[in-house]
């Protein structure tokens, strides 16, 4: 009797282990996304969400994806990230610069969850960073603006004066001055990533001061709409905003996170995930240019040439000689700014007007 029971017990235990094991393998991987703005911003957050959808499509029911939008940068962010980690997600993407410190803090509490922080610079064993070289796209649109401007004043609606935004402004200025050395860049700061009303006001302020080509580093299509209303040209940000301003849009810089997200989720599944710092631009297609519209053929040819030049490595947006606003030579001829200098950029290049707020 006992003998039989022991065998039955053993069989049951082994059976349970096998079943349990296979159930483990079929458990979908929890993937979490934290967004700073609404998916409906039709800009930055929207493109991250497109990446999320790509992950869901690619992996089907091998993943279980959740996302939280409109998470303010600050203490709330820490709570949301921790909640996602507690809910069983194994890889969490925090998609805004301001989530940097909350991500690091939460990562310490959950060492076996992987965190991916976008546009930041702090890493840990379980925290990787990633970003896209948007500035490459900005150099291209700068070149377009430099060629097309008639007033020689081009504008930029900025969000916060952090290195990433400053980098974009500088690349825009450098691109413009590479084809038109007399161009000046005016910048207005909105102090928000997303506030359509204020962005529209900023755009109007710039246009009222003589700007005839407008670029932005804020997340709503409002500045582009103002550009269309006022009859000037503009560039879309983070996603193709052509349908908001079909007469004004020259092109848009499109963030393309799909490939990166799929790769990273796959790495977690394969167990090969490591903390890395990926910074891809036009070449790996993490940054793409939308169709060139509303421009003459020779401008289009220039734009395509600059884009191809960056992809092939022939053109580096931050190759010397580069002078700063005071005229001092910051990058010598033949040299390029390295990633470290780019990441900490806190100065304007020559041609940008106004003082950089600290």
């Amino acid at each position: 009797m006992k003998h039989l029971n022991l065998k039955a017990l053993a069989a049951a235990v082994i059976g349970a282990a096998v079943l349990g094991g296979s159930a483990q393998a079929a458990d979908p991987l929890g993937v979490g996304f934290v967004y700073v703005g609404p998916i409906g911003d039709h800009g930055y957050t929207y493109r991250h969400d497109v990446g999320r959808v790509a992950v869901e499509k690619h992996f089907g029911d091998k993943v279980k994806v959740s996302y939280v939008e409109n998470v303010a940068e600050g203490p709330d962010a820490e709570r949301v990230i921790a909640q996602l980690a507690q809910a069983g997600n194994k890889i969490i993407f925090t998609t805004s610069f301001g989530f940097m410190n909350p991500t690091i803090k939460v990562a310490k509490r959950f060492p076996d969850v992987k965190f991916e922080h976008a546009t930041g610079y702090k890493r840990a064993d379980n925290v990787a960073t990633y970003s896209a070289r948007f500035y490459e796209g900005r150099y291209v649109i700068g070149a377009i603006a430099g060629k097309m401007t008639k007033s020689n004043v081009i504008g930029y609606v900025g969000a916060y004066p952090i290195p990433e935004v400053v980098r974009g402004i500088n690349a825009y200025a450098l691109g413009a001055r590479s084809v038109n050395p007399d161009v000046k860049v005016k910048v207005v700061w909105v102090n928000s990533w997303y506030d359509p009303g204020k962005e529209a006001d900023a755009a109007k302020a710039l246009i009222d001061q003589g700007v005839d080509i407008l670029a932005q580093h804020t997340d709503s299509p409002a500045p582009l709409q103002v550009a269309e209303q006022r009859g000037i040209y503009g560039f879309g940000q983070a996603s193709d905003n052509y349908h908001f301003a079909p007469k004004s849009t020259l092109t848009s810089i499109i963030d393309n996170w799909d490939g990166y997200y799929i790769d990273r989720v796959q790495a977690v599944m394969d167990g090969t995930w490591k903390s890395t710092d990926v910074w891809g631009g036009l070449k790996p297609k993490m940054v793409e240019m939308a169709k060139f519209t509303n421009m003459s053929d020779d401008v289009k040819a220039l734009a395509e040439k600059v884009e191809a030049g960056i992809i092939s490595g022939e053109i580096h947006p931050f190759a010397g000689p580069i002078k700063d606003q005071s005229g001092a030579l910051k990058v010598k001829e033949g040299e390029e700014l390295d990633d470290g200098a780019l990441l900490g950029m806190d100065w304007y290049v020559e041609g940008v007007e106004g003082k950089l707020p600290k």
């Binding site: 409109n70 997303y194 529209a200 009222d208 709503s220 007007e353």
Partner: protein, 310 residues
């Protein structure tokens, strides 16, 4: 480069656009508060108006109908507030705050389908000859219909409040509801109507935002303008003409700080964003300094519920 003088006309135009929604919302709230009801839900009224107007314009193709939808949405939400605070006698401050949060959340939910959608522009006034006058032409004669409506609203409210019987009764209800009740006036009904009127103007303010200012729908399109409108009512010490002045002042501050940046002036933008509220606090301090000043300025029964004793 554009000269300073040439910059002034477009600047004034931008200021007018920025100030109009504030003026509408504050004018409506002024009427509501003069009747003794403190409706802190202006932000909620504006945002439901914005969504309703946008959805209405998108569905019907007519901006005018859209604005009417916006006003209607404001009236409905204000009616809810009125029921809660005037009939059920809930605390007005808490209910008003709840209204704002509710409005923001509800519109975020209902508006999801409208993100990324575009609508056409509101018609602009164009009197050949007058509109083409240099400088003053576009400013005085080239605005869109809503700007003229906002002026008409302020003039109308000022006239009704100070020169008509209805206005007198409304002010009486706000100054002393017990006396008004003793005289036989329907206090609760008047307050209902005043609140709903405030809702209508709040809704129109929101519709201006989503149809003219930035012709799009996005969550939280109002971005705190309702709070500025509330501050504006206090800043104006509940007088319509001061409201006009205040609205343009507050609108100008917002716009000028952006222009200043473009010109290279280094005033921190956060400081300028604070200014409307600092100005309001200053006014509150001045008018609260002694009991007489308070009596002369604020509607004495503001925010207190009315319980008819007989």
């Amino acid at each position: 480069m554009i000269s300073g003088w040439e910059q002034l006309a477009p600047l004034i135009l931008t200021v007018i656009t920025a100030s109009t929604p504030l003026l509408f919302a504050a004018a409506g709230e002024l009427v509501t508060e003069r009747s003794g009801v403190l409706n802190l839900g202006v932000e909620g009224l504006m945002v439901v108006g914005a969504l309703a107007a946008f959805a209405g314009t998108h569905a019907t193709g007519s901006a005018i109908l859209g604005v009417m939808f916006g006003a209607l949405a404001g009236v409905v939400l204000a009616f809810v507030f009125a029921v809660l605070t005037l009939t059920l006698l809930a605390n007005q401050v808490a209910t008003g705050l709840a209204l704002t949060i509710f409005g923001l959340g509800l519109t975020a939910l209902l508006g999801k389908g409208y993100v990324g959608v575009t609508v056409g522009n509101l018609p602009q006034l164009n009197i050949p000859g007058l509109t083409d006058l240099p400088f003053i032409g576009p400013i005085l004669f080239g605005q869109d219909a809503m700007v003229y409506l906002s002026f008409a609203a302020v003039i109308g409210i000022s006239w009704v409040l100070s020169r008509t019987r209805i206005g007198l009764v409304l002010r009486a209800v706000g100054a002393s509801h017990d006396s008004a009740h003793a005289l036989g006036y329907p206090v609760i009904r008047i307050r209902y109507l005043a609140t709903m009127f405030g809702g209508a103007l709040g809704g129109i303010a929101g519709s201006y935002l989503s149809l003219v200012y930035t012709p799009m729908w996005a969550e939280n399109l109002t971005a705190g303008r309702g709070w500025i409108a509330l501050a504006l009512v206090v800043f104006s010490t509940w007088r319509p003409w001061r409201l006009l002045l205040g609205a343009y002042l507050f609108g100008a501050i917002t716009v000028i700080q952006l222009h200043a940046q473009g010109l290279g002036v280094a005033v921190p933008s956060e400081f300028l964003s604070m200014t409307p509220y600092l100005a309001t606090i200053l006014v509150l301090v001045v008018i609260s300094r002694d009991k007489l000043k308070i009596k002369l300025n604020a509607p004495a029964c503001l925010g207190t519920g009315f319980r008819p004793t007989q």
